[in-house]
Symmetry: C2
Subunit: 388 residues, 2 copies
Amino acid sequence: MREVMVLGVGMTKFGPSDLSLQELFANASLEAIQESNLTSKDIQALVIGNVLGDFAEGQMNLAPLLADEIGLGPNVPATRVEGGCASASVAFRDAFILVASGFYDVVIAGGVEKFTHMGTAQVAGALAMIEDSHYEEFTGLTFPGVFAMLAHQYADKYGIPLAVLKERMARVAVKNHHHGTMNPLAQFQKEITVEKVLNSPMVCDPLQVLDCCPISDGAAAVVLASREIAEKMVAKPIKVLGVGQGNGRPYSRQKDFTVMRARLASSSQAYKMAGIEPRHVDVVELHDCFTIAEIVASECLGLVEFGKGSLAAELGETSLGGRIPINPSGGLKSKGHPVGATGCAQIYEITKQLREECGPRQVDGARIGMTDTLGGTGTVVVNILLGR
Amino acid sequence: MREVMVLGVGMTKFGPSDLSLQELFANASLEAIQESNLTSKDIQALVIGNVLGDFAEGQMNLAPLLADEIGLGPNVPATRVEGGCASASVAFRDAFILVASGFYDVVIAGGVEKFTHMGTAQVAGALAMIEDSHYEEFTGLTFPGVFAMLAHQYADKYGIPLAVLKERMARVAVKNHHHGTMNPLAQFQKEITVEKVLNSPMVCDPLQVLDCCPISDGAAAVVLASREIAEKMVAKPIKVLGVGQGNGRPYSRQKDFTVMRARLASSSQAYKMAGIEPRHVDVVELHDCFTIAEIVASECLGLVEFGKGSLAAELGETSLGGRIPINPSGGLKSKGHPVGATGCAQIYEITKQLREECGPRQVDGARIGMTDTLGGTGTVVVNILLGR
């Protein structure tokens, strides 16, 4: 297995967009290719994450259309992968394997989603299909419901009064919104307060609307290549230190959803491949689809002690300037969550952080960064470790 | 890159089924694992093709649920790929790369589909999403329409009177139905006649209903491993000689649909990797979603001269016992076409042929076999070459 580097990254602004899937992807991918000092002719394979193309735009079999849109030729395999909200990270990991194995020298991974034009009920129904249709979705359970139950279970397990947990959860939202104000590509670029979160409309007890990430349109893309090519083409290639992909039983078959089996497996794989421990990580982009989701992820990745995730948020440990800054981009909560694109948007942020190109939201001296993307009710997690 | 072998294959009977996606896949995959003299604990990664899980059963993010169904553990990455009707072949090729690269030693690839319970209009609408939604699907064009236009273009290009072409196309259907009578897993196991085809209801001129493959439920699975493991575990491992995946512009952007760019690219890749030429191939399973589709595929793969595909069918060159037997399983036309499963069902047949386990439909002395799977309006083709 040879070393693989990230050369260039590209990303659209997240949020409602009038552009098509093809146009969104083209904008992100051509930026990534240009940043790599390459042209479309240099790309040897494409792996793309997309979840709702069929429901939102009547478009399946999207990958070859995206390849055509950016001028990739007939010998460039173009594959769509779908692992719910983790789709783009699955794509990145597959692209990593294609280069690490020597099958290809230059591969583009990406993700794209467009669904803000759908009605709320349509979106809720479509996203619920990422659950287990036989044991979860048919009950009417939506994702806010899943994570609301998780919050109750978490409070109960660790003996944290719900009111205390709610305020700490609110601090996660406030932090990520604050980070988002420094990210020109974020969907929301405005501060919120704990009070505002706690007084926002209830979605599913104890989650209020400001505990939840929005739905978003957007795309992100990453060009990966061998070290040899990377060092020739760009000044600051970022090394892929480790990758992991784990799977878990759906929520309805888990006793304790506060510790996700898929995440333990995935992060262990990534740490092991990289030969590092959680304490070596300087900056993290993780799956904060809901505020409680950030708390349990920070614990499961080994960044914070089990049961202490909400306290760490309250103490500012996970804020910019804190011990382990989480979601400096604003995260799903504030940057936005175009589901099939999120994983590569996380890679985008970590790459920019490791290149020290993040301006006011820069994590000083970050040398090792991590991404974490969750799909389904705990059924798939992908972790990527990057370093410089 | 190390050698990769097919150890075991499994497949359900194709046709309407009361089983769920999970149950169908479990039946096929556990058969493949058992045939490999392995257990689920030995499987290190899963790649699955599925197209309509969301529309047909409200199930996205299917891969980890299938992994759970057959007892795969948390460290076994489970990924869904979707490339329209070529999905399972995309899965097989990805699995091949995972083993060839040394990332994993034992990987299962498969495909599963269940949609016969959907209404005809629902199915037509859902499958049309595999086209280009912006330039094709919105016009009301369905796949029978695409291939009907192809038939007209083919007749015109080669100066074959339409009545002559129609009779030759009918012979493709008669042949594949005849082959299907010898396949206990085929959806249709009954003979038809040229007269019956020509008098069957018109679907889209010149395609009559017996020129079209059916819709089907079903699953197929293949266990791949390194040569070292394969030779230890099974008596007749089948070697993967070459793989190819090409992409093409959608139908609406092609001048000549009778020669598909994606197929030329894909088959060239596979032949080159295998170091063989079309004349070395003994048996072929190819994408006969419509009778005319078999004709153009046989030409594009280099098995028959361009413009002579329909004549070759008339002369029996592509029948069992002919020069180059095509679709001894009955093909999509008679065996059935559970879209996301078809590619691995083709691998199933070729593996059984090369092991000489096909009874009355055995191609005598077959040593090299090929599969061909098409997705979209010519936008993705995957070819696999297997040998013993």
